[in-house]
Symmetry: C2
Subunit: 265 residues, 2 copies
């Protein structure tokens, strides 16, 4: 289950907004066994959006999720960008109009459907609108050959709700049973280079994606003694196997830490 | 001055690490008048890194900055990925070896130059190593036709220091004098759609990049009255003009907020 994420928003590339949406999505997808292969962030620019979407589709992920650019303002052009990438046009969708009305009614807002508001219901031809249960702009779902495309709003609460309701189950179902166990050692007296040969041996002796080993430098203790965190994650579809694998790996690493002059704090 | 950022690290796509590096770089670059056109995040995978680098180079930014993957562990393969993208190989660079030695000496560490450590000094043929003044792994600078490529470490303190010492001035010099002024209105009683036609008119009547207008939904006051933040940024090379432009725009927007039934909080 390979997922790509395309985040759309000039604010993300101007240092105005920290991209917590991508972080949250990566975490949710990884936690159920999906693999996020790439995150791309582009500005609110039609040709940038359409090129990035086209490139992502050419890499054939199982799912492409976009965030942002679904609103009523001039720079919300995700649907136009995606439509261009798919060689389609955007059309006013009556189901999306109804969803907009429902959203306004929820807040007891009696809004006229002005041009700016109807823009939110102009979706790529043939795509399926998704009710926004938090804000107003509908999301969409679109199928391009084997790729499922979801365009989600950029507002985190809206994005999260729609992801949980419409995408998470799909990923879970496709991945099947999935468990992950994690263990971390904070060590002193070792550098990444000192433990690197051990890690590479362990990684080489396991199938890809079953284990994840990573060292994180954590500066120097009293300006002299190097500190690193060693992170170990075991993944798979059998809980017992996953746990046993993690236990076996951590035992090897514990021994090697001591052997190489390090201590676990 | 168009910049692209390529962040390398499986931890960034697994929801383990929030990509604050990209956020910080975008902010620094924007603040001196540079434009970040795209951020791409890929896993520690040779073909992913080399494809992403190749694609970025084909878009011909002025500068390509990569972060992460310079360390001593098995999954630090940024140099190999970049070299593959450039049709080069990595070679042990004697200057980089000296830099490594200098870094260890700084911490009074008497390390043997093992294979794992020397890996950090194996850089793309023809590139220039850059001393890491905080950690050990050297960064590199590489010129590919008109594109300057910088590979920076993923550890934020190391990345920031090298960026400030080697890249920031280059961007500043190329951009020339640059000022930006920002003003924000928190409003109540308006939706994005209600102010959208005003924003589009203002944006249309100014050259691209001189102004940035953006509305941010801020939920509902007492569950009923919509709240939005209107963000206005004026940019240019003349302080007086930038300020006057912002003042003129904010005056128009103030009037329109009131006219459309909103208030500024």
């Amino acid at each position: 289950m390979i997922v790509e994420i395309l985040c759309i928003g000039t604010e993300l590339l101007s240092g105005i907004t920290l991209n917590t949406n991508a972080y949250w999505l990566c975490s949710e997808i990884t936690n159920v066994g999906g693999v996020v292969r790439r995150v791309t962030v582009v500005r609110d620019d039609l040709s940038e959006i359409s090129s990035a979407a086209r490139e992502s589709l050419a890499r054939k992920p199982n799912i492409l999720i976009t965030t942002g650019g679904l609103g009523a303002t001039y720079d919300d052009i995700t649907f136009e960008g995606l439509a261009a990438a798919l060689g389609k046009k955007v059309v006013l969708d009556s189901r999306a109009v109804e969803m907009l009305k429902k959203s306004y009614a929820r807040h007891k807002l009696h809004y006229e459907l002005t041009e700016s508001r109807l823009k939110m219901a102009c979706i790529p031809e043939g795509s399926t609108p998704i009710q926004n249960p938090v804000g107003s702009a509908p999301a969409i779902m679109e199928q391009a050959d084997s790729i499922s495309i979801f365009c989600l709003p950029g507002v985190p609460s809206e994005m999260k709700t729609i992801f949980k309701e419409h995408i998470l189950q799909r990923i879970k179902k496709s991945v099947g049973k999935f468990v992950a166990e994690e263990l971390n050692y904070n060590t002193r007296g070792l550098t990444e280079a000192m433990i690197a040969p051990v890690l590479i041996e362990i990684v080489k002796s396991h199938p890809k994606n079953m284990i994840y080993l990573k060292t994180h430098p954590r500066g120097y203790y009293r300006k002299k003694t190097p500190q690193i965190k060693i992170q170990m994650i075991s993944r798979g579809d059998n809980e017992k196997e996953v746990k046993n694998r993690l236990a076996a790996i951590s035992k090897v690493i514990e021994k090697e830490i001591v052997k190489r002059g390090g201590i676990i704090c």
